[in-house]
Amino acid sequence: MNIKELEEKSKAYRKKILKYIYNAKAGHTGGSLSIIDILNVLYNKVLNVSPENFNSPEKDIYIQSKGHCVEALYVVLADKGFFPEDDLLTLCQYQSPYIGHPTKKIKGMEQNTGGLGHGLSICCGSALAAKKDQSDVKVYTVLGDGEMAEGSNWEAFMFAAHYKLDNLCAILDYNKLQITAPNADVMGLEPLDKKLEAFGWAVRHVDGNDVESLVNTFDALPFEAGKPSFIIAHTTKGKGVSYMENVLKWHHGVPTAEQYELALADIDG
């Protein structure tokens, strides 16, 4: 898939995220729009994962630590053929397996996440197991910037460097907002690259809403042999829908009919 095609995919995914959130009248809109380009590149360019090989020990692993942005993951997994896209019309409905966070009930999902600060530790265990097995399995996770305040992440940062897990890559969806306010006001993260480097990680910055830059960055993995890789992906919460971009209330805001139409036109335009 070339860059142009990936860009078209991102547009289509954005519209689908909105469609299913609008239909369900629930979902994490802003964060799903901010991570979708990362998931697009991961699933269409990077990960060795498909419905066919999902049960194979050789496939790669993606665990979404910021589980609340599950709508983005649903849309991509449906596109990759893990389940019929129409299933998503049941999102968040009574007895639907398509709930508001990832669960293993859905093919393509590795673990049940949703409590923040869990994914990276699990990835560490999986990456270590892959090393022990001398397999080529690579392990990826996406973290939220607000989520970075969870202490368990920092336990895992220490562990990954200690065990030289260069088959592990953590991507930060650095959209600079969380629920209450900007991270910088809630609990500042900076200087983040220096912190992670000091923790023994190889760190790179990227425009996390630019698929070409993402492709190039993932191509360079591992950034340094013997070190886990950390991608600080600078993103925009609500990306692609101008009235949602950088506006706190779209964390889990649901558009009205009128706003929904406006959003679709914006993405196309």
């Binding site: 049940n112 409590g115 869990h118 990276l120 530790s121 265990g125 999986s126």
Partner: protein
């Protein structure tokens, strides 16, 4: 000074902890997919020898219990048979959300080993006691909870847990315990989810778990010798799923039931047994012996047991009281 809870002659039994460690080591020798994960706890978990003999099968996470359970989850998801070993107090409080979400909810078959459980750490105090673990874990779906009473049950529990494809929590202490607590004619066997009747009697029943079983047997012996009272003693090693059938069978004798555990009287074995009794219309006289809802008295495990009546003397008295 309180008395020690046991006076087992040296060499008669080991600490369940040591039996755990040697059993795990033999499992790991035979199966390269068996892993121990420790949080600066390999010394207290008696796993130093394991680490020397099988360095590729032990993973140290440092003093980071949340990461301990997360890493164990990741390893288990990659088809390893993982034993996460940490003091019960830290494992089931500090890492409770990881147990709930990563192990139980995500259905990863991690074996959680709570060492030096209950009040084993004695005078180190309540930071080091785990009197809440049955209560919190009973309320979490998809986990088996086991507290072996003796060396025999410990070895069997570890072997059976290793073969189970689901989450298990096992806890035990570090005091020497008998090789096998048993005062019945036939040899008893161990099966997860089935209580073990270690002594048969007709006047009342002790249903106990973990290291509280041994003082119950002592009390039962004393009751027989000094008061002509014959007590049944059950090792209810599996707290969840609970052996309802055995409880109801014991209740049908219409004699008093006393539950005994090294845990808060809230939310543990006693309340679980009480719930089975009441919901099945059983109105046996009933008493829960455990740690009351107060700041725990200071002292050794033996002294704390004595203080709260989890002892030969205290349980003999409880039996006499309930029989009126």
């Amino acid at each position: 000074m309180g008395q020690e809870i046991t006076n087992i002659p040296k060499g008669v039994g080991l600490a369940n902890l040591e039996v755990f460690a040697s059993t795990l080591e033999s499992l790991a020798q035979a199966d390269k997919t068996v892993f121990a994960v420790t949080s600066d706890s390999r010394g207290s978990g008696k796993l130093v020898a394991f680490g020397q003999k099988l360095p590729e099968q032990i993973v140290e996470v440092g003093i980071a219990e949340q990461n301990l359970v997360g890493v164990a989850t990741g390893l288990a998801s990659m088809r390893k048979k993982v034993f996460a070993v940490s003091p019960a107090c830290f494992l089931t409080a500090r890492a409770l959300e990881q147990i709930k979400n990563d192990v139980c909810y995500s259905d990863n078959p991690v074996k959680l080993i709570g060492i030096s459980a209950g009040v084993s750490y004695g005078a180190l105090g309540s930071t080091h006691h785990s009197l809440h673990d049955y209560a919190v874990l009973r309320a979490i779906n998809n986990i088996t909870i086991i507290a072996p009473a003796d060396n025999f049950e410990t070895a069997e529990a570890i072997r059976q847990a290793a073969a189970m494809d689901s989450p298990v929590y096992l806890r035990f202490g570090k005091k020497n315990m008998p090789e096998k607590i048993e005062e019945v004619e036939h040899a008893t066997s161990f099966e997860v989810g089935k209580g073990r009747v270690v002594k048969e009697g007709s006047d009342l029943t002790f249903i106990a778990t973990g290291e509280a079983v041994w003082p119950c047997l002592k009390a039962a012996q004393k009751l027989a010798e000094e008061h002509q009272i014959s007590a049944t003693v059950v090792s209810m090693h599996t707290i969840k799923p609970l052996d309802q059938r055995l409880i109801l069978q014991l209740a049908s004798q219409n004699t008093p039931i006393i539950t005994v555990e090294e845990h808060s009287v809230y939310g543990g074995l006693g309340e679980a047994v009480g719930s089975v009794l009441l919901q099945n219309g059983c109105h046996n006289k009933f008493k829960i012996v455990g740690l009351p809802d107060e700041h725990t008295v200071s002292g050794s495990q033996g002294e704390i047991f004595e203080h709260y009546g989890i002892s030969e003397k205290g349980l003999t008295q409880s039996a006499l009281n309930i029989l009126g």
